[in-house]
């Protein structure tokens, strides 16, 4: 049924996070239009410009469809693994923020999605997971459809065997590996189709990757995708024909660049899913362009992004500043070569390249990517094939993408042997590397990043360029850092520091250069390294013989050290509003006890929060004192009780142990001053760096304050900020010699705050980018940081917050390089203020990854050939809530060029590369004309460049269009025409359903004696323990769920961990004679991996208590039957299982 915007806005609020009403309206209308197009055509194409939130619009469509049809089954096909994960992350954020109500169809109370999200590493995993539970949301990636059958024998066998385990009935000859790889892929695809369930909605992200469609000219990957989803065909294997059929109901395609230069590419994409029948005009050469636009516009919508700047609307061509003349220093001027050596080198290389292109093999034509000299003159090694077909498609190791060159022989770069010889000669004769003016100009420009804190994103074509650029920038950074340290650190430390610098240089000269550009380790442990002095001195173990940054860092982590509580918060001091030295008295007064008794109680309570270690660390005792005092305050009615109870519940309750240990916390620990207790006393600094939460909800306040504190302290210890903190610590050390250095004292808190205050009071231009700037930026953009990078922190167990944040911010590097594989952590760090300031990557990060939050400039160092590739790259930093958008949309006196989003196309004038840049920029303009109204249409592109023709063509660079862009594919009135209808369930009905569920814990449950847990946050979950006849207590959880339109209550009771094979065997044998529904948890971590679970449908409300009581009796009784004979020592209390039982809702199973 078609719907209206009025209907949709009852369910969706797109403005809640972005705070941009116009964009929110566009997104809502987009969701409604796509919903209605899908209803009519079963296929829709959302082609909004990059960064407008296509993912969110698509998620809005899913929510609308699912709200009215809760059984909707979803499959999302993402272009790469990182984007696959991003979809899952965004679905969580969208559900929490943009779905207005807990309808129990799309969103559960607490803002989580109703359906679990399933990440599938490949198609066999998709088969396995859909067999286990098809009613979940599945996320796969496009390369998985390549099927790894071309490589080594073992890999083929392994894949075949895995597939057979999922489809055990497959006839032997269908999976006979002696068949040709293409035949085999086709058969496997048909078999996968047979075993897959039907998906009501399939979303394909970055669908332009399918522009070659179906047929002989298309990739095997496309054929497999189409077959897996059941595209109509008449040559299905007869044995699979009875089961072969469509697995896709509605298909939603997403891409900002649906075509490059021909509407035929759009037809190809529709045809791949068997939905092109009504759109034949798109491939008809005789059809007029108007006709093609009209036809495409039935299913395709595209809106153009714009920003309102000082009251004026700017489309992307107006708020981006393109540097088309090639320079990087001064806008619209070419790179200046002033040095004679550079000029001579360039002339020589150009002569050689021209001679090479004059060879009859090339006929003065070259393909983009075949010349290595545009990027580097360094020697290049020979290409080797990638091990994993899935990661790179069919390319070799010089590139990550598949559109750079089509001839395998050219991939290495036809000019490489010539360059290698030149480079060798130059090094031998002059004792230094061959200069590369373009690279040197870029390095000079980017070296300002650590002075002004501005981030830069650099795209290269060749993998080798990643490491070369990074190495040069690391050299620049090292010079800057060492100089900065010497200037800042007291003279008495210089001798040791200089020795350390010398040692670093020696070690760095001896190191083996990294073979891969994957950005280094992605593990939790920071191993340091020799890339930069920062990595060597401030991270990992650090050098011996000096109190290095790494060593001070370790003291901040060590709970036994004096600095171990530096970044803790003294909640009790803050809660009681007491000053250091007065907390114990204030606590006694609040408890209404004499101080002696209050202290005795504190000691006694603290024994439940300490481990059995003989001598707990000072940090552990400080924590126990906090927990004990807060628990005491939570028990006494009064002004402090509500807040104390929340802090205690969120941070300390889960740590409480049933038994007390001998060790105890001394009350004077409550007088401890920390960075946060002192920051509270400096109002302006606090407002800038650790602002008080605005929420009226107490739990939300406590959570936000704690999360902000964790982010602030991790940033202070692990990145650029630490340079300043380290300097302050060394001010209070007599020597950097570990044998002479003493433990830093309490005065460091004050000194560090003074330093931050001094920076706050000094204009940034006069002091350079400093600790204060990074911390303030982090605080100012807290919500953005959580939404884009750490959404899980909003609902995580608060005790895990410091680990999550620490894991994210560890192993920072000022310059990051990435090719081959995505380093998740580096990408996430680039979305935060601070390191890495420069990210150099191949087209690995071209699609889908958001890098816009703190970056406003991009360098196409290695220019891509297609407009879609260039647009996708720019789209990484041109998105909703980007740094550019935030900067431009605040009221300002005037906007100058520096304020715009900077797009650089570095190249040298008077070189062949300029010809290429000019062609690409012409194509960019052509692409704009194709997608927007009132512009002439281009001729199809050719990725080969005719040097002679280009040289004689008009030499000027094409200008950026200066008029406002208007889309050719707006949302039409017919797309929004529908029927107003009420939501399937509204707020009041959901409240009644939740009240009905909550009532279960209030009334009598016949035949069951139950203790319910207090203070549970999730209204769709109840935790309790039932007292069994034999005196044992059995914990359980009840979850309110939905099956279609009916409400279901599920009861889960944990048995525990079954660790030995013998126990598994016993359990199997015993369960055969018992009508028990056992649940096995796949991940073998945590407190249990075996449960008993069962559910009942809720019918008449008057029967709820009796039906649910029967359910609880059955489930807990069966668990008792298992435990008594098989696991007799396993009668464990609810507290043991609590954190996991709280998360057994359907979305988390």
């Amino acid at each position: 049924m078609r719907i209206t915007v009025r209907t949709a806005e009852q369910l969706l609020d797109f403005n809640r996070v972005i705070g941009n009403p116009q964009r929110a309206t566009d997104q809502l209308e987009g969701a409604v239009a796509v919903h209605n197009i899908l209803h009519r055509h079963r296929i829709a194409y959302l082609a909004d410009e990059v960064g407008m939130g296509k993912t969110y619009v698509a998620l809005g469509v899913v929510a609308l469809l699912r709200h009215f049809a809760p059984d909707l089954r979803l499959l999302v096909v993402a272009p790469r693994e990182n984007i696959q994960r991003k979809w899952q992350r965004e679905l969580g954020v969208f559900t929490e923020h943009n779905v207005r109500l807990d309808d129990l169809r799309v969103r559960m109370p607490g803002g989580v999605p109703v359906r679990p999200l399933v990440h599938c590493a490949d198609l066999v995993e998709l088969l396995e997971e859909t067999a286990v539970g098809p009613d979940r949301d599945f996320f796969v990636r496009l390369p998985s459809f390549s099927l790894p059958l071309r490589r080594d024998e073992q890999q083929r066998h392994r894949f075949r065997d895995r597939l057979r385990r999922q489809i055990p009935w497959l006839p032997d000859d269908i999976v006979d590996l002696r068949a040709n790889a293409d035949v085999l892929k086709d058969r496997f695809a048909q078999a996968i189709n047979a075993a897959l369930p039907f998906f009501d909605l399939v979303i394909v992200d970055e669908a332009h990757n399918l522009k070659h469609g179906w047929g002989r000219q298309a990739s095997a990957r496309n054929q497999v995708l189409a077959t897996v989803l059941g595209r109509d065909r008449d040559d299905v294997d007869p044995r699979l024909a009875p089961t072969y059929g469509s697995r896709a109901g509605k298909v939603l395609l997403l891409s900002a660049t649906p075509v490059d230069d021909d509407y035929r590419q759009l037809w190809n994409q529709l045809d791949l899913f068997g939905r092109a029948g009504s759109f034949v005009s798109l491939r008809d050469p005789d059809a007029s362009e108007e006709r093609k636009r009209e036809v495409a516009g039935q299913i395709l919508i595209r809106r153009v992004t714009s920003l309102r700047v000082n009251g004026r609307r700017l489309t992307k061509n107006l708020y981006r500043r393109e540097w088309r003349q090639g320079g990087v220093e001064k806008h619209d001027e070419p790179i200046e070569i002033t040095d004679d050596r550079q000029r001579l080198t360039m002339a020589l290389v150009q002569k050689k390249v021209t001679e090479l292109l004059g060879h009859e093999r090339f006929g003065a034509r070259f393909q983009v990517g075949m010349l290595a000299s545009f990027e580097s003159f360094l020697q290049t090694s020979k290409a080797t094939p990638e091990a994993d077909e899935e990661t790179t498609g069919d390319t070799t190791s010089h590139f990550d993408g598949d559109e750079q060159v089509s001839d395998a022989a050219e991939r290495q770069g036809i000019d490489v042997p010539m360059l290698d010889q030149l480079a060798r000669d130059h090094l031998q004769r002059f004792g230094r590397e061959l200069p590369h003016p373009k690279m040197d100009a870029l390095v000079n420009t980017l070296a300002s990043s650590w002075r002004d804190g501005r981030k830069a994103l650099v795209f290269v074509r060749r993998k080798a360029s990643v490491s070369e650029l990074k190495r040069k920038l690391d050299d620049e950074y090292n010079d800057w850092l060492i100089r900065r340290l010497r200037e800042r650190i007291d003279r008495r430390h210089h001798a040791l520091l200089d020795a350390a610098v010398e040692e670093f240089h020696q070690q760095r000269m001896q190191r083996v250069p990294a073979a891969a550009n994957d950005g280094g380790h992605d593990s939790e442990e920071d191993v340091g390294g020799e890339d930069t002095f920062f990595a060597w001195y401030f991270r990992g173990r650090g050098p011996d013989g000096i109190i290095s940054g790494a060593r001070i860092q370790e003291r901040f982590r060590n709970l036994g050290s004096g600095l171990g509580t530096f970044f803790d918060d003294n909640h009790v001091m803050a809660l009681l509003g007491a000053s250091p030295g007065q907390v114990a008295d204030a606590l006694a007064a609040a408890l209404g006890e004499e101080r002696d008794k209050s202290e005795r109680l504190l000691r006694e309570y603290s024994r439940h929060y300490l481990s059995s270690a003989k001598q707990p660390t000072r940090g552990a005792r400080f924590d126990a004192a906090q927990a004990a005092a807060l628990e005491l305050l939570a028990e006494i009615p009064g002004t402090h009780q509500p807040r104390a109870e929340v802090i205690w519940r969120e941070l300390y309750l889960p740590k409480k142990q049933g038994g007390a240990v001998a060790a105890e916390a001394e009350p004077n620990l409550l007088e401890t001053t920390t960075f946060f207790t002192e920051l509270r006393r400096r109002a302006s600094l606090r407002a800038a760096l650790w602002p008080a939460p605005a929420s009226a909800d107490l739990t939300a306040q406590v959570r936000e304050q704690h999360v902000r504190a964790q982010l602030l302290s991790a940033a202070a210890r692990l990145g650029h900020v630490f340079l300043d903190l380290y300097a302050v610590v060394t001010d209070h050390l007599p020597s950097l010699n570990p044998a002479q250095g003493t433990e830093p004292s309490d005065e460091i808190v004050t000194a560090w705050l003074d330093e931050l205050q001094r920076q706050a009071d000094t204009p940034p231009q006069t002091r350079g980018w400093s600790a204060y700037d990074e911390l303030k930026s982090l605080a100012d953009n807290h919500g953005l940081v959580l939404d884009t990078t750490l959404p899980e922190l909003r609902r995580a167990d608060l005790r895990e917050a410091s680990t999550l944040v620490g894991r994210l911010l560890t192993a920072q590097q000022p310059v990051a390089g990435m090719s081959g594989r995505v380093n998740r952590r580096l990408v996430q760090q680039f979305r935060l203020p601070g390191y890495p300031l420069v990210l150099i990557c191949t087209d690995l990060l071209q699609e889908g990854e958001d890098l816009h939050t703190f970056c406003s400039r991009i360098y196409h160092y290695g220019l891509a050939w297609t407009p879609s590739a260039i647009e996708q790259r720019v789209g990484r930093i041109d998105r909703v809530r980007s740094e550019t958008e935030r900067r431009l949309t605040v009221p300002r006196d005037q906007v100058d060029g520096e304020d715009l989003l900077q797009v650089h196309y570095p190249h040298l004038a008077d070189t062949i590369e300029r010809l290429q840049a000019r062609r690409v920029l012409h194509r960019m303009n052509d692409f704009l004309r194709l997608m927007h109204q009132g512009l002439a249409l281009p001729a199809p592109g050719d990725s080969r460049l005719d040097v002679a023709r280009e040289v004689h063509a008009d030499g000027g660079m094409p200008p950026v269009p200066a008029e406002l862009l208007t889309t050719s594919f707006p949302v039409r009135d017919e797309h929004l025409g529908g029927r107003d209808r009420p939501l399937a369930v509204d707020d009041s009905r959901v409240r009644r359903q939740l009240d009905r569920f909550a009532a279960l814990s209030r009334g009598d449950l016949p035949g069951a004696s139950i203790e319910w847990e207090r203070g549970q946050r999730d209204p769709a979950s109840l935790l309790g323990s039932t007292l069994l006849a034999d005196g044992r207590k059995q914990p359980f959880s009840l979850q309110l769920e939905r099956e279609g339109h009916a409400l279901v209550v599920r009861c889960v009771s944990p048995i525990g961990r079954v660790e030995r094979d013998e126990q598994w065997r016993e359990l199997r044998e015993w369960s055969a004679s018992c009508q028990i529904r056992i649940g096995a948890v796949r991940a073998r971590r945590g407190t249990y991996d075996i449960t008993v679970e069962e559910d009942v449908l809720l019918t008449d409300r008057r029967s709820d208590h009796i039906r649910v009581a029967a359910l609880i009796r059955r489930v807990t009784g069966l668990v008792d039957d298992v435990e008594r004979p098989h696991l007799p020592e396993r009668d464990r209390p609810l507290t043991d299982f609590r954190p996991e039982l709280e998360r057994v809702g359907r979305h988390a199973r």
């Binding site: 679990p116 067999a131 286990v132 539970g133 098809p134 009613d135 979940r136 385990r165 489809i167 055990p168 009935w169 497959l170 047979a194 075993a195 369930p197 089961t243 769920e1041 099956e1043 279609g1044 009916a1046 279901v1048 599920r1050 598994w1064 199997r1068 369960s1071 055969a1072 004679s1073 009508q1075 028990i1076 529904r1077 056992i1078 649940g1079 096995a1080 948890v1081 796949r1082 075996i1090 449960t1091 679970e1093 069962e1094 559910d1095 009942v1096 449908l1097 019918t1099 008449d1100 008057r1102 029967s1103 709820d1104 009796i1106 039906r1107 029967a1110 359910l1111 059955r1114 359907r1146 199973r1149």
Partner: protein
Amino acid sequence: MRAEWRTLCAADDMRVRGKRITVSFANERSHDVQVLDEGDSYLLTAVVAEADDLDPGQDAARAAWRRNRHSSLVGFRIDEEGRLIAQAWTPKDGLTPEAFHTLVRTVAREADRYEFWLTGSDDR
């Protein structure tokens, strides 16, 4: 309110024979569900696969238990004869025809789906 199950399953897609209900699906497949009266509750079961149909190299019980974490209203287990069984349980109190239909159809549908996954055929 407690109703005898036969009075609860008047539906076009259900045919009762003794203690057995045959549920027909739109795709022309069907599956039998057996009803066991346990006094205060009913247990509905359906055979997914005979012991011979199960791969001895696979731990079918554990696979079924893993599936149970994600299934709603229906669970799976291996019985004493080594057969893979789908089952659902419901108290009699408050049981309505709609709820009983939902339960019977869910057991039949999920048993059928599991059977197809294992054998590629419809023998039940």
